[in-house]
Amino acid sequence: MTKVMTAAQVAATVRSGMTVGIGGWGSRRKPMALVQALAEAPADDLTIVSYGGPDVGVLCAAGKVRRVVAPFVTLDSIPLEPHFRRARQAGEIEFTEYDEGMFMFGLLAAAHRLPFLPTRAGLGSDVLRVNPELRTVRSPYGDGEELVAVPALTMDVALVHLNRADARGNAQYLGPDPYFDDLYARAAGRCYVSCERLVDPAELLKEGPVQSLLISRSMVAGVVEAPGGAGFTSCEPDYGRDEAAQREYVEDAREQG
């Protein structure tokens, strides 16, 4: 059975008002080919869940975003993401601003089909002030500690980009950091994987150990072969970040004002 699709076909499955999780971290291994296709598709009013980078910026610039859920939006080597900044400063988007660790617990809760998970991260900070819907829970044990109850970051759709995948959706990362892509796959109703290269299942272990098989086909709805599909963000070891292209992206954003 094949799940191979085009990026446009993936984008066409996204409906207005949906919650879309996007893997990677900052300006690293972002599924930019899928994001670009989504920017060109009709769906809007989206909630984007992301350790944010240019994925968030591209979708903000395309007018697709109602809400961003993120602990940061950055291009890493260029600290501030220009389109996200502009959208925030113009009051065009809503923002759910979480601590990085809180955000991970939201992913973990969704992946485990739990309503929430408790953490200390966020306590005492203005994260609780700017997210008045957040609740705390008290430990039922002797310590009685009060903790933040991070609600599950459940998504309709997750988009991730990995190095290799087979046609049924088994997907492999060959770089040094899995980021949280497996959690996105598990937290979403449907996960779509783009990859640098589609390979036969028998080829998967030729480039990396079994531990590099990050995502199982049981969690994948569609696979897109997209060489360079993380560009201009990094996709180690296939390529690093294209710093010149990233600078150009920022300059273009400035010209658009």
């Binding site: 940061f72 925030r88 979480y98 601590d99 990085e100 809180m102 966020g122 306590l123 203005d126």
Partner: protein, 240 residues
């Protein structure tokens, strides 16, 4: 010896006594050099990383890959370390108040900011769960404010785990006062107490005329720094 050398050593001193935990510098040459210098001199058990996801077995120069890797530290392990309390991070801040509450999220009203910055990142969890220090390369009233616009990292009045020290281009400050407010510990060579007071937007606790001078790097420390940063990237971060 440059002002940057003094700053690196003052930042490195924040890690003194930390032992076998991750000494993490965030962004820029100074904090990364500080962790590596501390490990190579007075705090040899420290763990240091390469800025991405490797725990380095040796201590490479800035921009160099390690020859020895002693561990794997992807982002999810960083987040685990934070909750587990085995990390001392040296963060930056766009604003800081007298209790060490810091802001890296936005300037102005959060609902529609005048300037959107990074977002809170991991600062809430770092400051709640681990020792945290700050490096602020430009000590000014824009940064040292009476009240921050959004509390990202929490201060001593909001349940911070432990704010160790604040190092700036002018001085070293800490929170070892009865009410946990900021105190001037030392001024760097060539800087006066009046300079620091003039650059700080709130009253510093308990300055009674006996503020020390920040110690100068030893010859050994300068030799180590020259090996770690032969291109003197550190001097670009601090005005001489």
């Amino acid at each position: 010896m440059s002002r940057a050398d003094v700053c690196v050593v003052a930042c490195a001193e924040a890690f003194r006594g930390d032992g076998e935990i991750l000494a993490a510098g965030i962004g820029g040459a100074i904090t990364v050099l500080a962790a590596r210098l501390a490990r190579l001199t007075f705090e040899p058990e420290l763990l240091t990383h390469d800025g991405t996801c490797l725990l380095t077995g040796d201590v490479p120069a800035l921009g160099q890959a390690p020859e020895v890797v002693e561990g794997w530290l992807p982002f999810r392990e960083h987040l685990w370390l934070v909750l587990n309390g085995r990390r001392h991070v040296m963060l930056g801040a766009s604003q800081i108040d007298r209790y060490g509450n810091t802001n890296i999220s936005c300037i102005g009203d959060w609902t529609r900011p005048k300037a959107q910055l990074l977002g809170v990142r991991g600062a809430p969890g770092n400051t709640r769960c681990d020792p945290t220090s700050y490096w602020i390369p430009r000590h000014s009233k824009r940064v040292f404010v009476p009240e921050v616009d959004l509390v990202s990292g929490i201060g001593t009045d909001r349940g911070a785990f432990e704010l160790r020290r604040v190092v700036t281009d002018l001085a070293v400050l800490d929170f070892a006062t009865a009410d946990g407010s900021m105190r001037l510990v030392s001024v760097h060579p060539g800087v006066s107490v009046a300079d620091v007071v003039a650059a700080t937007g709130f009253e510093l606790h308990d300055i009674c005329g006996n503020v020390a001078q920040t110690r100068e790097p030893t010859d050994e420390e300068l030799r180590v720094l020259d090996r770690l940063d032969p291109g003197r990237l550190r001097d670009r971060e601090v005005a001489a």
